[in-house]
């Protein structure tokens, strides 16, 4: 039996080491080695997917090795439906991002590819870790490469953006470390055993004071990552400055870390605190949903618009998690997958046009339907998916979240439903500005630079489009996978009671 989870986590490390031995004057070889590595990683995750049993409960493909025995810290990894689907999303988006970096990245290719592969280790590790300490280590591993990707290969204002990103997320994650340690100390104090293992801690009833403290620290880390209103302002800056592939990974995977953290740790470990804070978090989610969409409506920059749409869409994820309802939480997980595919694709679309024009302002774009019909069609497809057109995957997630929310809190769902109009407003506005009307003078001036999508760009977008369509029409396999874990989490939560000392 192969250690599949570890293979998925550490194959990129092997690739990174290989790239280190590729001569600097062979950038093309570097690219292909990196791409091959991500493909192998994707392959491992798909092998896991094929061998995954939806009927079995608990974690599968688990590996367990003592790491720091004195504190009961173990290298413990494994997957359930939620983490596996997010791992597959990660490996897929990484492969696509590496492919999408072939043309745009011409400087320091070697460093770039190594950074990207290290990033993949961290991302897969976060989803696979079953030990809280290991989780924290992987969580921080993600931070550094992303900091470098934005800071080195980013746009004009990249230093500001990357430092903002770094500080913001670091504040959250360091607080979370304190929360993790406090949790382990209390566990040790009451049982006499050191353990950071998810399975030990999840079944344990922590004292209300610790729950509130740890929940708040975890919440800050995850809320910043998601990002929830009002911790979201790092996101537009980071997206605007990041290179295309960086944006794809940022939107597609990094934001999911927060949502995943809520489901995996915040709810099962601290159910009482979760009940206590749920109303406030639901309120913040609804604000994020509406507010992100409203702000997106007036963005003059293509990429910023997509960034704010992420704030709105990720609001559905936190909303679906914190209403503690089965359909809503399944919808939230599904929405994470969708958002990864759709927003990732939208950022790729932005990248395609930025490659040619080096401009993303709507005022300078327009009329691409005539010159770039294939591009216009692709953009339209993902625009509709993002607007939640039934039959594409975006609809399933949003719909499940909202119908689940409606079952427990009709008013909240009703308010959130307004986003159907607002979302369509900014997306159709975007589409009209980029694609319709006559070719703008600025674009006319580009002449032959303005050509339709190259094969490599098509290769990055077609798999995403196929998945968006497939998951929209046949979401059942994914929903089956996440059904079990979601009901497990809700079981934990159902034992919680709201603590009385907060309004």
């Amino acid at each position: 039996m192969l250690p599949l989870v570890s293979l998925t986590i550490f194959t990129p490390l092997v690739g990174a080491l290989l790239i280190a031995f590729v001569p600097r004057d062979r950038p093309q070889l570097t690219r292909w080695v990196a791409f091959a590595t991500t493909l192998v990683t994707l392959g491992w995750s798909l092998v896991m997917l094929a061998g995954f049993s939806t009927s079995a409960s608990g974690f599968q493909f688990t590996e367990d090795v003592p790491w720091i025995p004195f504190f009961g810290i173990r290298y413990q990894v494994g997957v359930d439906g939620i983490s596996l689907i997010l791992i597959v999303l990660t490996t897929l988006l990484t492969a696509i991002s590496v492919l999408a970096s072939f043309r745009p990245i011409q400087d320091r290719v070697k460093e770039y590819m190594i950074t990207f592969l290290v990033l993949e280790i961290g991302m897969v590790g976060v989803f696979a870790a079953l030990d809280l300490f290991l989780f924290y280590v992987f969580w921080e591993v993600v931070l550094v490469p992303m900091y470098l990707i934005i800071g080195i290969w980013g746009g004009a204002n990249r230093i500001y953006a990357t430092i903002k990103f770094m500080l913001y997320t670091l504040v959250g994650s360091l607080l979370m470390l304190v929360g993790i340690l406090a949790t382990a100390f209390e566990y040790h104090a009451s049982t006499g055993v050191w353990s950071f293992a998810y399975q030990d801690l999840a079944g344990f009833h922590f004292s209300p004071a610790l729950q509130v403290f740890a929940f708040v620290t975890f919440f800050l880390a995850f809320a910043i990552k998601v990002p929830m209103f009002p911790f979201h302002t790092w996101l537009p800056d980071a997206h605007v400055e990041a290179p295309t592939a960086g944006s794809v990974i940022l939107a597609g995977v990094l934001l999911k870390l927060g949502g995943y953290g809520f489901i995996r740790y915040s709810l099962p470990l601290y159910p009482d605190a979760a009940h206590t804070f749920a109303p406030a978090i639901i309120a913040l989610s609804v604000i994020a949903i509406i507010y992100g969409a409203v702000v997106a409506v007036v963005q003059p920059d293509f990429k910023k618009l997509v960034a704010y749409s992420s704030v709105s869409h990720m609001g559905f994820v936190t909303l679906g998690i914190f209403v503690f309802q089965s359909q809503a939480m399944q919808g939230a997980v599904f929405q994470m997958v969708n958002h990864g595919l759709i927003t990732g694709a939208l950022f790729l679309c932005v990248g395609v046009i930025y490659e040619r024009t080096h401009d993303r302002r709507f005022a300078n774009l327009g009329g691409l339907a005539g010159r770039l019909p294939l591009y216009a069609t692709t953009l339209g497809f993902f625009m509709l998916a993002s607007a939640g057109l039934p039959g594409l995957s975006g609809f399933v997630g949003e719909f499940l979240v909202l119908i689940g929310t409606f079952a427990v809190a009709p008013l909240v769902a009703g308010i959130a439903a307004i986003v159907m109009v607002l979302g369509a407003t900014y997306l159709f506005y975007m589409f009209q500005q980029v694609v319709f009307v006559d070719l703008s003078d600025f674009l006319k001036g580009l002449g032959d630079h303005l050509h339709d999508m190259a094969p490599i760009e098509i290769a990055t977008l077609v798999p995403l489009a196929a998945l968006v369509l497939l998951l929209g029409l046949f979401p059942a396999p994914v929903l089956d996978m996440i059904q079990g874990p979601v009901s497990g989490v809700l079981d934990h939560v159902s034992h919680g009671v709201a603590l009385g000392f907060l309004p």
């Binding site: 500080l167 302002t233 409203v294 409506v297 039934p390 719909f399 159907m420 407003t425």
Partner: protein, 651 residues
């Protein structure tokens, strides 16, 4: 072929046509219709077989089947399932027949358009979506089709995307529809929460049961059906969401005929009729439906009086006729509503295609003030349009007369006298504005640009016109005779029986020499009066002699009714109010939100950063870079420590 296979083939044909035309349409280019049109003709044939089997009673109450489970999420489960019954069949007749004829017509109409492969692909996609809408067996699948027809409408309105007005109109249509869809989807959530299923059969069984058992408050049922009705208001362009339909005329004329007159805009009517078991449970909701319907009928007719764009007049008349249908649904005359849907589909489709032929003939001119006297140049178009106009005006024995009078008669007999009164007035207004249109377009002196030589359309366009004129003239007689007992009632009464039972309506025999005869007489009289006034003012061609238009009287009349004229001409300022409300005020709110984001929220974040930087800059002064300063610090620190030690030990 088995029935299930027929249903699947009906959906697969246009879908395949769409996929193939989208993929290879450009290669076929001068004849981009080569795949799309045969696909739809085949679909029509399949549809007719299905319609025959259903309506002939071979299938009993119809049939339903499940293709696969679409969204399974715990206790929530929605299938892709289809249900076919007589109501479906009635809609299928309209959708497949008019769809096919419009496809054929488009061969000629779009002959010179370089992007027509896109046009045919979209048109096929629309056919698929519309058929899915009609065949869907649950609310979510219906909603999916609902959005897909909206999408195809968006694509086709914005077909000439280079025109800014077309791009804006397309966006407006989609967004206004979305407003209604918010209500529709909330209604769907509410249905699932109360019923636990979204299948039509389950919903219609459980809700009345729960209501009877007291598990469900009456206000909740009212709320649910009104939410569903929001969707219908959007899709069928009823007040207050009617503003998108006139703008949708930016699309090519075949699109206006198919989507914005004959099929898609009827989706709301279909949905409400399909949900009749729910609507009948709430009399207050029924009143709302009737009120919105008849008000829209009046509002749109009043606007149609003064518009000069030929397609916009037809668009407002579509709004008005849809209003009739909703009025019928509201008063409980479901079969009459569907009857009117069918006849309206044919005669309005015909009228739009005629207007397309006219526009084509005078080289893309849509302003009626620049037409006139065209009957001589375009005899077939003129003749068929005359049939259509008489039909919509409700002149017996053409199709519109039967369906409209059933609606009016039912509203009177069911006690909705106001609806009846307005309906009769609108009938007169309809006759007036339609013959104003006819007069300005076909009769009187020509105002056509002298450089333009009007000509009759090619056969691919005129043949569909003739084929549509036949049902526009005779459909009423064929399925609506005898009144209240025609074929259409035999088909549809079983479907609507439960709803009518809930409402306590008992079908009564039509009394030619009783109240019904009087009602018919009144409405026909008013319609004829409207027609005669219009003919006197705007001219007509009678056998043997021309009646000349009298522009001076028209001008004098307009001057006397100046305020009404201005209001009608400006469409009662709905567009301006909405523009102010959503673009000006809404835009300001959004700008404000962005300012808040970048100055307040981000300001706090950057403020924290700035304070840290400032503190660092100030504290940096301590670092002089001189070793001796540091050493002094060390020495002083040592002294302090030593002193502290001494103090501590000596005490």
């Amino acid at each position: 072929m088995s029935n299930q296979l027929l249903v699947l083939a009906l959906l697969a044909l246009p879908l395949a046509g769409f996929a193939l035309t989208a993929a290879f349409g450009r290669l076929l280019m001068p004849r981009a219709w080569l795949i799309a049109v045969p696909a739809v003709i085949l679909a029509w044939a399949v549809g007719m077989v299905l319609v025959y089997r259903t309506l002939s009673g071979q299938l009993g109450d119809g049939f339903a089947f499940t293709l696969y489970t679409w969204i399974p999420a715990g206790s929530f489960r929605v299938d892709v399932n289809f249900a076919v019954d007589n109501l479906t069949a009635a809609l299928l007749i309209v959708v497949t027949t008019i769809g096919m004829l419009v496809h054929v017509y488009s061969i000629g109409y779009m002959a010179h358009d370089p992007g027509k492969w896109r046009f045919f692909a979209y048109l096929n996609f629309f056919m698929f979506s519309m058929l899915l809408l009609v065949l869907a067996g649950n609310y979510l699948l219906l909603f999916m089709a609902w959005e897909l027809v909206g999408l195809s409408s968006y694509l086709l309105i914005g077909f000439w995307y280079q025109r800014r007005s077309a791009a804006l109109a397309a966006k407006k249509a989609f967004l206004v529809n979305r407003v209604g869809d918010v209500g529709f989807s909330i209604g769907i959530w509410a249905l699932w929460t109360t019923v636990g299923s979204l299948n039509f059969s389950d919903v219609f069984r459980v809700i009345p049961e729960k209501l009877a058992a007291g598990q469900l408050q009456p206000w909740m049922v009212t709320g649910i059906v009104l939410l569903l009705f929001c969707g219908a208001v959007g899709k069928s362009a009823q007040f207050p969401l009617h503003v998108w339909l006139p703008d949708a005329m930016e699309g090519p004329t075949p699109v206006s005929a198919l989507i914005h007159a004959a099929t898609m805009v009827n989706a709301g009517v279909y949905m409400v009729a399909r949900s009749s078991p729910l609507f009948s449970l709430s009399s207050s909701a029924m009143v709302v439906v009737a009120a919105i319907g008849i008000f829209t009928a009046l509002l749109a007719a009043s606007i149609a009086f003064t518009q000069t764009d030929i397609k916009r007049v037809l668009a407002y008349s579509t709004l008005s006729q849809l209003g009739y249908m909703f009025a019928a649904l509201g008063v409980g005359a479901y079969a009459a509503a569907i009857f009117h849907l069918m006849t309206h589909g044919f005669f309005k489709g015909l009228l739009f295609l005629d207007s397309g032929s006219v526009i084509h003939g005078v080289h893309d001119e849509q302003d009626m003030n620049r037409m006139g006297g065209l009957w001589r140049k375009m005899p077939i178009t003129h003749a068929t349009m005359l049939v259509g106009s008489l039909a919509i005006a409700g002149i017996p024995p053409l199709a519109g007369f039967f369906s409209k009078d059933e609606i009016l008669g039912a509203s009177f007999r069911n006690g909705f006298y106001v609806v009846w009164l307005i309906g009769v007035v609108v009938a007169g207004m309809t006759a007036f504005y339609m013959f104003r249109l006819m007069g300005k377009t076909f009769y009187g002196p020509s105002h056509v640009d002298p450089d333009v030589h009007p000509h009759e359309a090619p056969p691919s366009m005129t043949v569909p016109l003739i084929l549509l004129a036949i049902p526009a003239a005779l459909l009423g007689l064929a399925i609506g005779w005898p009144p209240e007992a025609g074929l259409v009632h035999r088909w549809l009464d079983p479907i609507f029986a439960p709803a009518e039972q809930t409402l306590g309506l008992h079908p009564e025999a039509f009394q030619v020499f009783g109240i019904d005869g009087v009602l018919v007489l009144v409405s026909v009289t008013l319609a004829t009066a409207g027609l005669i006034v219009a003919v006197r003012l705007f001219g007509v061609r009678l056998p043997g002699r021309d009646v000349e238009p009298r522009p001076t009287i028209v001008e004098a009349g307009t001057a006397r009714l100046r305020p009404l004229y201005v209001a009608s001409y400006h469409k009662w300022w709905f567009d301006d109010v909405y523009h102010g409300l959503f673009f000006v005020i809404g835009g300001a709110v959004a700008q404000g939100a962005w300012w808040f984001d970048s100055h307040i929220i981000d300001g706090v974040v950057n403020g924290v950063g700035a304070v840290t930087t400032l503190a660092g800059r100030e504290l940096r002064r301590i670092q002089t870079g001189r070793v001796q300063n540091y050493a002094l610090g060390i020495a002083l620190g040592l002294l302090v420590m030593a002193a502290g030690f001494l103090v501590a030990t000596t005490r």
